[in-house]
Point group: C2
Chain length 128, copies 2
DNA sequence: GAAGGGAATGATAATCATTATCGTTATCAT
DNA sequence: ATGATAACGATAATGATTATCATTCCCTTC
Protein backbone atom coordinates (compact mmCIF):
# COMPACT_ATOMS: atom_id res chain seq x y z
CA UNK A 1 0.00 0.00 0.00
CA UNK A 2 1.22 3.38 -0.94
CA UNK A 3 1.77 5.74 1.94
CA UNK A 4 1.16 9.44 2.03
CA UNK A 5 4.23 10.31 4.03
CA UNK A 6 5.27 13.65 5.38
CA UNK A 7 7.59 14.17 2.43
CA UNK A 8 4.93 13.31 -0.12
CA UNK A 9 2.48 15.57 1.63
CA UNK A 10 4.98 18.41 1.34
CA UNK A 11 5.41 17.77 -2.36
CA UNK A 12 1.68 17.62 -2.89
CA UNK A 13 1.00 20.77 -0.89
CA UNK A 14 3.65 22.66 -2.78
CA UNK A 15 2.26 21.76 -6.16
CA UNK A 16 -1.36 22.12 -5.17
CA UNK A 17 -0.68 25.63 -3.95
CA UNK A 18 0.42 26.73 -7.40
CA UNK A 19 -0.59 26.66 -11.01
CA UNK A 20 2.88 25.94 -12.25
CA UNK A 21 4.31 22.90 -13.93
CA UNK A 22 7.17 21.69 -11.78
CA UNK A 23 10.11 19.48 -12.57
CA UNK A 24 11.73 17.32 -9.91
CA UNK A 25 14.62 19.64 -9.35
CA UNK A 26 12.42 22.67 -8.83
CA UNK A 27 10.35 20.77 -6.31
CA UNK A 28 13.43 19.71 -4.37
CA UNK A 29 14.81 23.21 -4.41
CA UNK A 30 11.55 24.82 -3.31
CA UNK A 31 11.08 22.39 -0.45
CA UNK A 32 14.64 22.96 0.63
CA UNK A 33 14.11 26.70 0.58
CA UNK A 34 11.01 26.20 2.69
CA UNK A 35 13.05 24.36 5.28
CA UNK A 36 11.55 20.99 4.41
CA UNK A 37 14.37 19.52 2.40
CA UNK A 38 13.57 16.17 0.81
CA UNK A 39 16.14 13.97 -0.92
CA UNK A 40 16.07 14.20 -4.68
CA UNK A 41 15.47 10.47 -5.07
CA UNK A 42 12.54 10.76 -2.73
CA UNK A 43 11.17 13.63 -4.76
CA UNK A 44 11.28 11.52 -7.91
CA UNK A 45 9.64 8.58 -6.18
CA UNK A 46 7.11 10.83 -4.51
CA UNK A 47 6.09 12.52 -7.74
CA UNK A 48 5.67 9.17 -9.45
CA UNK A 49 3.66 7.76 -6.57
CA UNK A 50 1.42 10.80 -6.38
CA UNK A 51 0.80 10.68 -10.08
CA UNK A 52 0.01 6.98 -9.94
CA UNK A 53 -2.45 7.73 -7.17
CA UNK A 54 -4.13 10.32 -9.35
CA UNK A 55 -3.11 13.19 -7.10
CA UNK A 56 -0.86 14.81 -9.67
CA UNK A 57 -0.83 15.15 -13.44
CA UNK A 58 2.22 15.37 -15.63
CA UNK A 59 3.40 16.28 -19.07
CA UNK A 60 6.43 14.77 -20.66
CA UNK A 61 8.56 17.36 -22.37
CA UNK A 62 11.55 16.63 -24.55
CA UNK A 63 14.05 16.94 -21.78
CA UNK A 64 12.13 16.36 -18.61
CA UNK A 65 8.83 15.58 -17.00
CA UNK A 66 6.78 18.29 -15.33
CA UNK A 67 4.06 17.86 -12.75
CA UNK A 68 0.99 19.89 -11.98
CA UNK A 69 -2.13 19.74 -9.85
CA UNK A 70 -4.60 17.05 -10.78
CA UNK A 71 -7.64 18.84 -9.41
CA UNK A 72 -8.34 20.70 -12.58
CA UNK A 73 -10.43 19.77 -15.58
CA UNK A 74 -8.58 17.85 -18.24
CA UNK A 75 -6.64 20.06 -20.58
CA UNK A 76 -3.81 20.00 -23.08
CA UNK A 77 -0.81 22.27 -23.42
CA UNK A 78 0.58 24.91 -25.66
CA UNK A 79 4.24 25.67 -25.06
CA UNK A 80 6.12 28.76 -26.12
CA UNK A 81 9.45 27.74 -27.56
CA UNK A 82 10.71 31.24 -26.97
CA UNK A 83 9.98 31.95 -23.33
CA UNK A 84 8.90 28.57 -22.02
CA UNK A 85 5.40 29.67 -21.11
CA UNK A 86 2.96 26.81 -20.76
CA UNK A 87 -0.64 27.64 -21.52
CA UNK A 88 -3.50 25.27 -21.06
CA UNK A 89 -6.44 24.77 -23.31
CA UNK A 90 -9.37 22.44 -23.69
CA UNK A 91 -11.25 21.21 -26.68
CA UNK A 92 -13.83 18.70 -25.75
CA UNK A 93 -14.28 17.69 -29.34
CA UNK A 94 -10.64 16.70 -29.65
CA UNK A 95 -11.04 14.29 -26.76
CA UNK A 96 -14.04 12.73 -28.41
CA UNK A 97 -12.25 12.33 -31.71
CA UNK A 98 -9.30 10.72 -29.98
CA UNK A 99 -11.51 8.17 -28.33
CA UNK A 100 -13.13 7.42 -31.64
CA UNK A 101 -9.80 6.92 -33.38
CA UNK A 102 -8.67 4.57 -30.64
CA UNK A 103 -11.83 2.54 -30.64
CA UNK A 104 -11.64 2.25 -34.38
CA UNK A 105 -8.35 0.41 -34.03
CA UNK A 106 -9.25 -1.70 -31.05
CA UNK A 107 -6.90 0.35 -28.92
CA UNK A 108 -7.58 0.26 -25.21
CA UNK A 109 -6.69 3.83 -24.35
CA UNK A 110 -4.96 4.60 -21.09
CA UNK A 111 -3.82 8.13 -21.69
CA UNK A 112 -2.76 10.69 -24.21
CA UNK A 113 -0.78 13.86 -24.55
CA UNK A 114 -1.40 16.67 -26.94
CA UNK A 115 1.22 19.37 -26.90
CA UNK A 116 1.46 22.26 -29.29
CA UNK A 117 4.61 24.29 -29.83
CA UNK A 118 5.00 27.80 -31.07
CA UNK A 119 5.44 31.37 -29.96
CA UNK A 120 3.05 32.84 -27.47
CA UNK A 121 1.24 36.07 -28.13
CA UNK A 122 3.78 38.15 -26.26
CA UNK A 123 6.81 36.64 -27.97
CA UNK A 124 5.20 36.87 -31.39
CA UNK A 125 4.79 40.60 -30.93
CA UNK A 126 8.15 41.33 -29.35
CA UNK A 127 10.49 39.79 -31.84
CA UNK A 128 9.61 40.13 -35.47
CA UNK B 1 24.47 25.86 -45.98
CA UNK B 2 23.58 22.41 -44.90
CA UNK B 3 25.16 19.67 -46.91
CA UNK B 4 23.64 16.38 -47.92
CA UNK B 5 26.73 14.32 -47.33
CA UNK B 6 27.27 10.67 -48.03
CA UNK B 7 26.54 9.80 -44.41
CA UNK B 8 23.34 11.80 -44.32
CA UNK B 9 22.25 10.27 -47.58
CA UNK B 10 22.74 6.83 -46.06
CA UNK B 11 20.66 7.78 -43.04
CA UNK B 12 17.95 9.21 -45.23
CA UNK B 13 17.87 6.22 -47.56
CA UNK B 14 17.65 3.84 -44.67
CA UNK B 15 14.70 5.58 -43.11
CA UNK B 16 12.94 6.29 -46.37
CA UNK B 17 13.11 2.63 -47.27
CA UNK B 18 11.07 1.68 -44.23
CA UNK B 19 7.93 2.54 -42.37
CA UNK B 20 9.52 2.25 -38.99
CA UNK B 21 10.25 4.83 -36.36
CA UNK B 22 13.99 4.76 -35.74
CA UNK B 23 16.03 5.96 -32.82
CA UNK B 24 19.62 7.13 -33.29
CA UNK B 25 21.12 3.94 -32.00
CA UNK B 26 19.08 1.74 -34.32
CA UNK B 27 20.13 3.85 -37.27
CA UNK B 28 23.80 3.61 -36.35
CA UNK B 29 23.53 -0.13 -35.86
CA UNK B 30 21.68 -0.70 -39.13
CA UNK B 31 24.16 1.35 -41.13
CA UNK B 32 27.00 -0.48 -39.50
CA UNK B 33 25.42 -3.81 -40.38
CA UNK B 34 25.06 -2.60 -43.94
CA UNK B 35 28.77 -1.88 -44.08
CA UNK B 36 28.29 1.87 -44.04
CA UNK B 37 29.18 2.59 -40.46
CA UNK B 38 28.63 6.18 -39.39
CA UNK B 39 29.78 7.64 -36.09
CA UNK B 40 27.04 7.92 -33.52
CA UNK B 41 27.59 11.65 -33.12
CA UNK B 42 27.24 12.04 -36.84
CA UNK B 43 24.02 10.07 -36.76
CA UNK B 44 22.58 12.43 -34.16
CA UNK B 45 23.66 15.48 -36.10
CA UNK B 46 22.48 14.00 -39.37
CA UNK B 47 19.05 13.17 -38.03
CA UNK B 48 18.66 16.67 -36.62
CA UNK B 49 19.84 18.27 -39.85
CA UNK B 50 17.55 16.14 -41.98
CA UNK B 51 14.61 16.93 -39.78
CA UNK B 52 15.40 20.63 -39.88
CA UNK B 53 15.49 20.37 -43.65
CA UNK B 54 12.06 18.79 -43.65
CA UNK B 55 13.35 15.48 -44.95
CA UNK B 56 12.49 13.56 -41.80
CA UNK B 57 9.77 13.71 -39.19
CA UNK B 58 10.16 12.80 -35.56
CA UNK B 59 8.23 12.00 -32.45
CA UNK B 60 9.56 12.66 -29.02
CA UNK B 61 8.92 9.77 -26.67
CA UNK B 62 9.56 9.80 -22.95
CA UNK B 63 13.01 8.33 -23.23
CA UNK B 64 14.16 9.06 -26.74
CA UNK B 65 13.38 10.63 -30.06
CA UNK B 66 12.37 8.54 -33.02
CA UNK B 67 12.54 9.48 -36.67
CA UNK B 68 10.43 8.49 -39.64
CA UNK B 69 9.96 9.38 -43.28
CA UNK B 70 8.58 12.81 -43.94
CA UNK B 71 7.01 11.97 -47.26
CA UNK B 72 3.75 10.82 -45.79
CA UNK B 73 0.61 12.73 -44.98
CA UNK B 74 0.55 14.27 -41.55
CA UNK B 75 -0.52 11.88 -38.85
CA UNK B 76 -0.41 11.34 -35.12
CA UNK B 77 0.57 8.30 -33.11
CA UNK B 78 -0.92 5.66 -30.91
CA UNK B 79 1.63 3.70 -28.92
CA UNK B 80 1.11 0.34 -27.30
CA UNK B 81 2.60 0.43 -23.83
CA UNK B 82 2.71 -3.35 -23.86
CA UNK B 83 4.54 -4.26 -27.05
CA UNK B 84 5.81 -0.91 -28.27
CA UNK B 85 3.82 -0.95 -31.47
CA UNK B 86 3.41 2.48 -33.00
CA UNK B 87 0.28 2.96 -35.07
CA UNK B 88 -0.49 6.05 -37.07
CA UNK B 89 -3.80 7.74 -37.43
CA UNK B 90 -5.21 10.91 -38.88
CA UNK B 91 -8.12 13.06 -37.90
CA UNK B 92 -8.34 16.13 -40.01
CA UNK B 93 -10.80 17.68 -37.63
CA UNK B 94 -8.34 17.49 -34.76
CA UNK B 95 -5.84 19.51 -36.76
CA UNK B 96 -8.42 22.14 -37.47
CA UNK B 97 -9.42 22.39 -33.84
CA UNK B 98 -5.80 22.73 -32.80
CA UNK B 99 -5.27 25.61 -35.16
CA UNK B 100 -8.39 27.27 -33.84
CA UNK B 101 -7.27 26.91 -30.23
CA UNK B 102 -3.88 28.38 -31.08
CA UNK B 103 -5.28 31.31 -33.00
CA UNK B 104 -7.65 32.00 -30.17
CA UNK B 105 -4.68 32.64 -27.89
CA UNK B 106 -2.53 34.52 -30.35
CA UNK B 107 -0.20 31.55 -30.51
CA UNK B 108 1.96 31.33 -33.59
CA UNK B 109 1.99 27.59 -34.07
CA UNK B 110 5.11 25.87 -35.30
CA UNK B 111 4.30 22.27 -34.53
CA UNK B 112 2.44 19.87 -32.35
CA UNK B 113 2.48 16.33 -31.16
CA UNK B 114 -0.47 14.21 -30.27
CA UNK B 115 0.40 10.84 -28.85
CA UNK B 116 -2.03 8.35 -27.38
CA UNK B 117 -1.01 5.53 -25.10
CA UNK B 118 -2.74 2.27 -24.42
CA UNK B 119 -2.82 -1.37 -25.40
CA UNK B 120 -3.11 -2.32 -29.01
CA UNK B 121 -5.77 -4.68 -30.24
CA UNK B 122 -3.49 -7.68 -30.11
CA UNK B 123 -2.23 -7.05 -26.59
CA UNK B 124 -5.72 -6.29 -25.30
CA UNK B 125 -6.85 -9.71 -26.44
CA UNK B 126 -3.81 -11.68 -25.33
CA UNK B 127 -3.48 -10.65 -21.74
CA UNK B 128 -6.67 -10.16 -19.82
C1' DG C 1 45.68 23.21 -59.64
C1' DA C 2 47.04 25.16 -55.02
C1' DA C 3 45.13 27.80 -51.04
C1' DG C 4 41.72 29.04 -47.75
C1' DG C 5 37.19 28.86 -45.55
C1' DG C 6 33.07 26.69 -44.02
C1' DA C 7 30.82 22.54 -42.82
C1' DA C 8 30.94 17.80 -41.47
C1' DT C 9 33.03 13.79 -39.38
C1' DG C 10 34.29 10.67 -35.65
C1' DA C 11 36.23 9.44 -31.28
C1' DT C 12 35.48 10.55 -26.90
C1' DA C 13 34.46 13.29 -22.81
C1' DA C 14 30.81 15.69 -20.62
C1' DT C 15 26.02 16.66 -19.33
C1' DC C 16 21.79 15.90 -17.30
C1' DA C 17 17.51 13.69 -16.02
C1' DT C 18 16.18 9.65 -14.06
C1' DT C 19 16.65 5.09 -11.86
C1' DA C 20 18.98 1.55 -9.04
C1' DT C 21 21.26 0.27 -4.86
C1' DC C 22 21.48 -0.32 -0.12
C1' DG C 23 21.77 0.52 4.57
C1' DT C 24 18.75 3.00 7.69
C1' DT C 25 14.33 4.60 9.51
C1' DA C 26 9.37 5.13 10.12
C1' DT C 27 4.86 3.01 10.57
C1' DC C 28 1.57 -0.26 11.64
C1' DA C 29 -0.34 -4.76 12.98
C1' DT C 30 0.38 -8.79 15.84
C1' DA D 1 8.52 -5.31 21.92
C1' DT D 2 8.74 -7.70 17.29
C1' DG D 3 8.47 -8.09 12.64
C1' DA D 4 7.07 -6.83 8.15
C1' DT D 5 6.60 -3.54 4.73
C1' DA D 6 7.24 0.81 2.61
C1' DA D 7 9.86 4.94 2.34
C1' DC D 8 13.89 7.62 2.86
C1' DG D 9 18.34 9.60 1.53
C1' DA D 10 22.95 9.54 -0.09
C1' DT D 11 25.17 8.19 -3.86
C1' DA D 12 26.46 5.29 -7.79
C1' DA D 13 24.87 3.93 -12.22
C1' DT D 14 22.42 4.34 -16.53
C1' DG D 15 21.34 6.06 -20.92
C1' DA D 16 20.28 9.43 -24.34
C1' DT D 17 22.11 13.38 -26.13
C1' DT D 18 25.43 17.20 -26.73
C1' DA D 19 30.03 19.39 -26.62
C1' DT D 20 34.81 19.31 -27.86
C1' DC D 21 38.40 19.21 -31.00
C1' DA D 22 41.53 17.64 -34.25
C1' DT D 23 41.00 15.99 -38.86
C1' DT D 24 38.86 15.66 -43.41
C1' DC D 25 35.89 17.00 -47.22
C1' DC D 26 34.16 20.18 -50.60
C1' DC D 27 33.90 24.59 -52.78
C1' DT D 28 35.31 28.77 -54.57
C1' DT D 29 38.73 31.86 -55.86
C1' DC D 30 43.14 33.14 -57.30
Amino acid sequence: MVKLTQQRQSILDLINASNRHWDADEVARALSDAGQAVGIATVYRGLAALEAAGLLDSIQLADKKRYERADKAHHDHMICTECGLIEEFTRETIEVLQLAAAKERGFELSGHQLTMFGRCKKCSLEKV
